[in-house]
Subunit: 230 residues, 2 copies
């Protein structure tokens, strides 16, 4: 990441202008958007490394925008907000924001947070997605647009559910997903206990992508917690 790209999303021009001064100074490339819809369209076209998102925006609310972004891409999101109550909401609803700063804020504090998030993400994502819609995990390539999965260049055929689970875990590399969370994210319905369908799917995926399903390299189980892709 020679020159990381940061997308600033805020409807108040003054705030973006102020941040631009500080961030340009740090050598970042900057993109701007006035609302969530604009932000999403910028993300379609550009390769962005981190997003600073204001929670109070017209058209699409910041929280909603955050969720949409999280669905598509894996990158650090730092939220801005005037009210500290909003922050409870962010934390409570678990929107997927990685950090937040309350207004009025010290621009340098935000710069520090940005640096810290970028450090953290490069550490987690040693191999970052090179193309839009592609997730790479070592020699495994997941194309979210074409639903193709390749291992060492060879085609792997996954069923829709299998693909959805793998994509979910790959998008959020490093975080552990419980069986319940996986079920709800993929099936989009409430999970009832004592149902090992997720487990069976995990097993099927492992059969297809792991050399030795008993010693999985891609999908690891975290005992008593869930599964993750490192």
């Amino acid at each position: 990441m020679a020159q990381p790209t940061i997308l600033l999303v805020d409807d108040e021009k003054e705030i973006i202008d102020l941040l631009e001064i500080y961030l340009k100074n740090e050598g970042y490339r900057l993109l701007r958007a006035g609302n969530g819809i604009e932000a999403l369209s910028v993300l379609q076209k550009e390769d962005v490394d981190l997003i600073v998102l204001d929670i109070m925006m017209p058209k699409m609310d910041g929280i909603e925008a955050c969720l949409k972004i999280r669905e598509q891409k894996h990158m650090p999101i730092i939220m801005l907000s005037a009210k500290s109550q909003d922050m409870d909401k962010i934390l409570g609803l678990s929107t997927g924001a990685d950090d937040y700063v309350t207004k009025p804020f010290n621009p340098l504090e935000l710069v520090a947070r940005i640096k810290s998030q970028l450090r953290r993400y490069t550490r987690l994502n040693v191999q970052r997605p090179n193309k839009e819609n592609e997730l790479e995990i070592d020699e495994l390539t997941i194309n979210t647009a074409t639903h193709e999965v390749k291992l060492d260049g060879r085609d792997i055929k996954l069923t829709p559910r299998e693909f959805a689970i793998l994509e979910l875990l790959a998008r959020h590399r490093g975080t552990v997903w419980s069986i319940e969370k996986i079920y709800e994210a993929v099936w989009k319905e409430a999970y009832f206990d004592s149902d090992n369908t997720v487990m069976v799917h995990i097993r099927k995926i492992r059969e297809k992508i792991e050399e030795n399903p008993r010693k999985p390299k891609f999908i690891k189980t975290v005992w008593g917690v869930g599964y993750k892709v490192e």
Copy 2:
């Protein structure tokens, strides 16, 4: 923060000596450094709550030091300076100092500023209980999101109960937890005496994270009371 720790950074010994008298009197724990490089090395080792930093120092300039500190850690910085022009610099764009005082200064004024900064920061920190979900204790890192524990970068595998106990103690650094309290917090049920299961778990954790479980560095035994992480 029972006894906040303050790091004084100045190349003029007399000034530090003077400040020490006033600040000790207020019940602060004091650390000193003669320049920015020293200051950074102290920060590596010690848990510091606030820094008083002179802008005119040999080796590493105060402003530079301030930026470096900001990169690494998040704590209040109060700058000292002889020249009022320096202050324009500090305020203008810069360093992320939270407050400043020009020399010659009234020590009592500095004390007041320190108090005010500590108040402000503890308030901010309450709102942000676990930034990034990471707890750090020296070279031990506990990530509550990924359920990962790292010691010197190496992965440590803890079982769910072990993790819960360590997290509990690490979250409340310095406070002693009785076996009964630990049991109730982790198991979420009433504790019946004459049951050494918590003890066995503590032992297992120590086996995994301590160099010498008999001389534990992280989880200390407080005789007749319980356990704590310092």
